[in-house]
Symmetry: D2
Subunit: 363 residues, 4 copies
């Protein structure tokens, strides 16, 4: 069990896809922070469905209501609870219910986990819709982090078999804010169109595609994190793996380390303008679980959307027999564009929690 996260910054997530509302409570944000509501809504919009042919056509306003913790546009330092009403529930589309469990989804595991009492409608507590309040929480953290000079950039490093370059070989000092305005943000100009084409192709085949997102956090001080259980990698990965569809996470060279020798993998140190830096950044900005002041770089894989318009083999929980199912409704052939702001959000949350932990280290 649980829908809560965090040590210094605490989140409590709630809601089901087809219940009354979804939402989140965030405790531990600084008091007196002015919330830029326009930018917050822009982040929410990036995650919302219906932005292009790649994603579902449903239109949900997703306008959050702040129930607490905000006064005159500023945080009060007290818990912020924000809720998003579920207004566009087309339960008919999900009429088959929990009987025929959908492959790749959590229908079956949720049924076992909650002894058959789960709210199964539209994915219930497992729905990707729950990432909306996470984006909201992340946007609040991002605004605070940006004021400290921290920047988070995320691009589609792979979609189906189209591969982009990596932040590992990009200039960390460049301005990547343009990525927030791209539907499929990429480092290499033009690749987004090839990616979109690959996704449309899958869609035509009544199928879906997956991919890899790469994230870079710049402006972090050295010294965040801890050895062992609260390593930077432990905390970031904990949140990344909370995002539905994420099935792999790697830092720096990641799985590429398997083919490197120590002499190739080590990042030599060097003085630069009176600061300690590393010549390369194979480690992705983390040594021994602690930031070293270089950009924190990681990738996560997003599995192809399990909702596809083909017939699939499954079982009937009612009859206990083999069966076939066909998922109705419109679904994203490619969730990556909508996953980008979610990955940025959990990154912001993890980093801010690490920052607060660090602040509590008295001298």
């Amino acid at each position: 069990m649980s829908s809560s996260y965090g040590q210094s910054l605490k989140l409590s997530l709630f809601g089901q896809s087809h219940g009354e509302a979804i939402g989140i409570t965030i405790d531990g944000l600084p008091a007196g922070m002015t919330i830029d509501m326009e930018r917050l809504m822009a982040e929410m919009a990036r995650r919302a469905p219906g932005q292009s042919a790649l994603t579902t056509a449903r239109k949900e306003p997703d306008a959050p209501e702040f129930l607490s913790g905000v006064l005159n546009g500023r945080t009060t330092g007290q818990p912020i609870c924000a809720v998003i009403r579920n207004t566009n529930q087309r339960s008919r589309d999900y009429g088959d219910g929990v009987d025929l469990v959908r492959p790749g989804h959590a229908d079956y595991t949720g049924h076992v986990r909650y002894f058959g009492f789960e709210d199964w409608r539209g994915g219930g507590s497992f729905s990707g819709r729950l990432t909306a309040p996470i984006v909201l929480a992340g946007a609040l953290c991002s605004q605070w982090l940006e004021a400290q000079g921290v920047r988070i950039a995320c691009h589609v490093q792979q979609l189906a078999n189209v591969q982009d370059a990596s932040f590992l070989s990009a200039d960390p000092g460049a301005d990547y804010s343009y990525m927030k305005r791209m539907h499929l943000p990429v480092l290499t100009a033009g690749l987004d169109e090839m990616m979109a084409a690959a996704a449309m192709e899958a869609r035509k085949a009544l199928d879906s595609v997956g991919g890899v997102l790469e994230c870079m956090v710049t402006g972090l001080p050295a010294g965040l994190g801890a050895p062992f259980f609260d390593s930077v990698e432990s905390q970031i990965s904990h949140l990344l793996f909370s995002v539905p569809a994420v099935k792999g996470v790697e830092f720096g060279e990641g799985f590429g380390f398997a083919g490197l020798r120590g002499s190739q993998a080590n990042d030599a140190f060097r003085m630069e303008d009176g600061r300690v830096v590393t010549v390369t950044n194979h480690s992705g900005g983390v040594n021994g679980g602690i930031t070293n002041g270089m950009p924190v770089i990681f990738r996560c894989v997003i599995r192809p959307t399990p909702s596809i318009a083909q017939k699939q083999q499954t079982v009937s929980l009612r009859t206990g027999e083999n069966a076939e199912t066909e998922i109705k409704g419109r679904h994203d052939p490619c969730i990556l564009p909508r996953a980008v702001p979610v990955i940025e959000a959990v990154t912001a949350i993890a980093v801010m929690d690490l920052w607060k932990e660090r602040a509590a280290c008295l001298r």
Copy 2:
């Protein structure tokens, strides 16, 4: 911050490589469990150095002393604290100290994190030696899990460029207990020798190699875990990334999902002997953060040991200038054999914590 882990099962790790002792406190093990001390010591021995030419020649007895929580060979249900004395500290070998920070190590980040007061000798709190008490804790969890029918197997899926087969295409019902007796456990007979040769080659070149470990947990019931923050993947990866040298974690097809379509990636359900199973196991036994009753399969990458016998570029913390360093002492050209029991241990800890969480779900 912290050296503690767990919700239902709580660990508290302590110690520095060259301090008095290292150890761990484990709270939440069932009362009345008979500890098989011989098997526990066998697990500790697998992690200990000096087992072959691949690993360091230091001989440390690593005999743990149980200070509490055990009476007449059985757990009392109260916290178990076990300590391991540091008897073989050759501080001379580390004489250069924290001045010349070693590339790939945590000397620099630890120095920043602890404001220069850290115990830097031999890696201090960051030393791989701290995995000894983790193996001890994991061995205790494993013994309990085995009594419930759970089995954990781990093999070297890749070492340098030598690649083994995957559990994803192996028979989950087979007996993999032989792996515990292999120095480099593999699925494909003979590959271990090729791996050993690759490691020895690196050693000759005064270098080191990395690789990938793959783990399979069988016998788990469906229903462990939770959506979002306490997903099975979140909790297992949190602990995996606590292990020094782990820089990537993937479940099921992992990063391979990026190139698959939904129709290839989904695991169809089927009834088998009255039980719900999946025909394939691309998801690695987890849907929506919850176990589905199939084997839980994941891989993690181990970076090449950063301690190599070559000159490396670094900085002097004392002078604030560029410098060269050469790491003295004997070091493992390949840490993988010793990492295997550590990965098994954190897996056992994570799984037992999930199991206990589940047990607290009243009806």
Copy 3:
């Protein structure tokens, strides 16, 4: 910091008295529990203002909306979020705002704690109104506990100088459910009228009164709790002291132990119907932090309501000078009747958390 509580059962409280809404998220309730909404509303009504001349005349509907975790009147096992809209905000009554901090209130400490950004209106996050969602959470726990045979009774053991008998000398097997129907529940018939008279007298004097509430929990099994940090007393008192106005907590003989000798204070054991019981219950049902199967009995003191209609000395935060303040609006001369369901609620929450912790103790 924090508005969250619990280990196995997790609460997250949010809201300010004059914000949009107040509410709570409860994670960890069993799946499939039928909620008796009528009884839940009855508990909420007991806490609501305006029930008699003793309490404020404001009428707030306090009807909670369940946003998540409930389907067809049953818990789904997923987090329950319930919110209560703030509909009756008469901000005029609080016009002086945070300038003249009210004695006995948290205006000043909240101002310092939140750096001047707190929502000060009507007590903000400190308002007694926040106990409404706590009563709601407690009512849900109570319904589950009752199904296990646990009963929680609470009476006014003292109001001003009128003193009632104690559960310590009452029959634990009697039916105390009548207490829920009394405005001032007492053990000794007629005393409630004397208490009401004492409160009315204070009111006439533009003053307020305090008192002591006593609580008894029957039907608990032996074995809940733990020595030291998670003792039954630690966990119950933690929650009791979370309730505004509670300034003291004692178990069994409590402060009376100071005048007893060991021979008088010890509870002798005896077999009764094959069960171990104690002849007396001076310890209040807890030995070494663990329930012994006897009724758990404790008392807590409720300070007199700080909102009184007299002029009081204070300071102006704006001018930094001494000043006088007079609290406008209608306030309770005696909060005890409304505190009773709150104390019962936190007791139910603490007990259920203990029960769940116990359930996670595998064998």
Copy 4:
């Protein structure tokens, strides 16, 4: 379950009275703090038995060994684990074992809680001996707090029927460090002798006495703590009730509030040297769960030692029949002198945790 405590400052306690050792791990102390080992040992000595006729004659050296987290006499910022060997185990004295459960002790509840597998020897995990590592942890916190100007004083406010004055009416600016040098620290000169006489009288009667300890913390800034679940009172009481024998806790006027009116109970504010202070301190330095900058004052009751040299009625767990027991060995007729440093220690721990939480409140 658990033997761990804390949010920002984390403790993990372990050990049984007659096991190998007892100890504690403390995570979160600042790096670079010089430990005054002499003063630390002086605190340990105050808690140790054998100091006067009032306490047991056993002589235990109680010299802690620091296994980690300390280098050259300074904290490294990493977890400190300290252990105390159990060298003087006279198991014969406890020969009757867990068969005849001792009234007032945790023999019975521990037996149920741990399913009969507990280490029952000499009280096992429940032994007052476990307070030795708590005193050690508290002494470390105290040293840090003192460097910030915080002072903690504790006196015996009542022993049997001898009553001392209260800090509520004492000068908070006076120097109470003399109390650390008194066996029975009191505010009123000479009272300690009357208290000692009362304890000796009980001893002659083969009995024991209880009492009340009062504690004052000065030098705290306003703004520590939070409303509701993490109130100052919640956190301090949580730790106080972890100490064996504590059965009641009250802040400021405590249970005396029951007889006061609001106009008497409220603390008027006043400016003094440019600071906000309160004219009186009925609230004991806490409003709405947050420190107000005035001295934090509280009392806790210590029940009479349950180990008395008289025959007592009990049951035999082996036969399931009524029986008599007589506790052998030497025991304290009055535990109060030894409880004083324990109460001071948990106070220091709670206050430092609150301080660290506050430090994490970014702006």
